[in-house]
């Protein structure tokens, strides 16, 4: 049970130091580094779709997509690499970038490390500055402190948000999903990427699911979406990858365990 004295306030409330003009600014960090194959294909730099997996279920599904090729990584200097394997693994604390041919080229980003809210915008700019896709799809999870409705652990919820351009022009990437209710919000890297899409007047969609961990009951929903987007999916339910993704998700970030 959360300690009501020390738990974080809901996002609409502030700590006193959040409102202090004279608080010390955070130490400056080097910008994120987007590392791609030395001779990137135009399909890698300008794919039809950029898919960013942030939630544990979406990472589990992404790792089960066959025939994907590792083409790069996004390095955050503040994230220690100790404990990462030589070969890309779902358990690594990293952001691996893959290419998939499918009928039209797509680039997949598996965000397997925590990204602080203060860094999210820089990460979004690095990613969207280097890979300029026709459409962007972000798979994120609903966080209970940001959602103003009821959240039951045995209930599956799916909502979306879209940029103006995605809503206005052409067929939507994600159909048959309600918009996030007014009053609720998304934050962190998913919000930063969608916000950056809007600033660039790009077509972007953020799909948020609940629950984020435990039983992978939203995995079939994500698999179904990706199949509609012409990704090959193998038959596994991704349970093993779900455990790996859950372990590496930001919810359980700890410097004690590397």
């Amino acid at each position: 049970m959360e300690d009501v004295l020390t738990e974080s306030p809901p996002p609409s409330r502030f700590f006193q130091e959040d409102l202090d003009n004279f608080a010390a600014p955070p130490p400056p960090l080097p910008p994120p580094i987007l590392v791609l194959h030395p001779n990137p294909s135009p399909d890698h730099l300008r794919p039809t779709l950029l898919l960013v997996a942030l939630s544990a279920p979406s990472l589990a599904v992404l790792h089960r997509i066959p025939h994907k090729t590792l083409i790069g990584t996004l390095i955050l200097p503040e994230i220690p690499l100790a404990g990462n394997s030589l070969e890309p693994s779902p358990r690594d604390r990293s952001c691996y970038i893959y290419a998939v041919a499918r009928p039209a080229p797509a680039v997949l980003v598996a965000v397997q490390c925590p990204v602080a809210s203060e860094r999210a915008r820089a990460v979004a700019k690095s990613l969207l500055g280097g890979i300029q896709a026709e459409k962007v799809l972000i798979l994120d999870s609903i966080r209970s402190q940001n959602f103003r409705g009821r959240l039951a652990v045995d209930e599956t919820l799916v909502f979306k948000l879209e940029t103006v351009e995605e809503r206005r022009y052409g067929q939507r990437l994600v159909e048959g999903v309600d918009y996030l209710p007014s009053g609720s919000m998304m934050d962190g890297l998913g919000a930063a990427i969608l916000g950056e899409c809007q600033m660039r007047k790009a077509k972007g969609t953020l799909m948020a699911t609940w629950p984020d961990n435990g039983r992978p009951i939203v995995v079939p929903i994500i698999r179904s979406l990706l199949q509609r987007l012409n990704f090959d999916m193998d038959g596994s339910d991704g349970a093993k990858e779900m455990v790996a993704a859950f372990t590496s998700s930001s919810r359980y970030d700890s410097d004690l365990y590397t």
Binding site: N21, F22, L161, R167, Y179, S182, G190
Partner: protein, 281 residues
């Protein structure tokens, strides 16, 4: 700070007054701006991109239906019929970056030709020296019109100058130096000193906005109310009402979805979360 207009829209040159929130206890300034945008029928004209703001996105806050219009952290709205531009801020500033944020916002406001900036914000009622005998909430103000923060227009409306605004007080003075870009010594403000009552006010976001806009030569009026954390809807109504008094704006001129009256923003239906689960009882 970069302004990205919505397609086919520009910031109106017919809106010399800008109204925006100062983040504060109870989010009262932000709630008041929400209420005003919804009620006067202001139209969103663009977004402001600012690295010192934490990211957030959501659905349309105003309605009448949640149509999926994306809401971003810092948005600009125009109401040429009321000669008013409003900026809504939905997410906090990165800790320690408030003064930089205020400077950039002041630079932007100045570049758009605005003449008068009104900041809506709130103060912790636990800081009040005296509890007001009157049950009606007193609105306080700080103005750039006079050096002591007074403004005859505000006085005539029944607002009370914030006594704790003292430009020569160490933190107010330091804030002004920072806002004007004057070099300051590292030990000019000893952060290890115990903070007194008067140190609270210049440390708040409204003070940074006030100092930075004033340093750009803009006329600035801060409207403030004391409140506690809780259901702050009533506080936001009081503050929005005070802003309307200052702007000489009456509800019969409101052009929201329901014209001629206050329009509750759609997002307020769940602003404090869902009702308690009745199956518990």
């Amino acid at each position: 700070m970069e302004f990205t207009p919505e397609e086919g829209k520009v910031l109106s040159a017919d809106c010399p007054t800008l109204l925006l929130p100062g983040l504060s206890i109870g989010n009262v300034g932000q709630l008041a701006v929400d209420l005003l945008i919804s009620s006067i029928g202001a139209d969103r004209v663009g977004f402001l991109d600012e690295p010192s703001l934490l990211p957030c996105v959501g659905n349309d806050a105003y309605g009448p239906e949640p149509g999926g219009v994306l809401a971003l952290p810092l948005e600009a709205y125009d109401s040429p019929g009321h000669a008013l531009t409003l900026i809504q801020q939905r997410s906090p500033v990165v800790r320690g970056m408030m003064i930089e944020f205020a400077k950039k916002l002041a630079d932007f406001v100045s570049s758009t030709g605005k003449k008068h900036v009104i900041v809506l914000s709130s103060l912790d009622s636990g800081r009040m020296k005296q509890i007001a005998a009157s049950s009606e909430m007193q609105v306080y103000y700080v103005s750039s019109v006079n050096n002591d923060g007074t403004d005859d227009d505000c006085e005539s409306l029944g607002f009370k100058r914030l006594e704790e605004y003292e430009p020569t007080q160490r933190r107010w003075s330091y804030l002004n130096e920072l806002a004007e870009g004057n070099p300051v010594q590292g030990d000019d403000l000893d952060f290890e000193d115990e903070l007194g009552h008067d140190d609270y006010y210049p440390g708040l976001p409204f003070a940074a906005l006030f100092a930075c806009c004033k340093a750009k030569g803009l006329k600035v009026t801060c409207l403030l109310c004391y409140c506690s954390e809780g259901d702050n809807i009533a506080d936001s109504f009081q503050l929005a009402g005070a802003a309307c008094k200052l702007l000489k704006l009456t509800p019969d001129r409101f052009l929201g979805h329901v014209q001629g009256e206050w329009n509750i923003p759609l997002s307020w239906k769940t602003v404090y979360g869902p009702p308690p689960d009745s199956s518990l009882f």
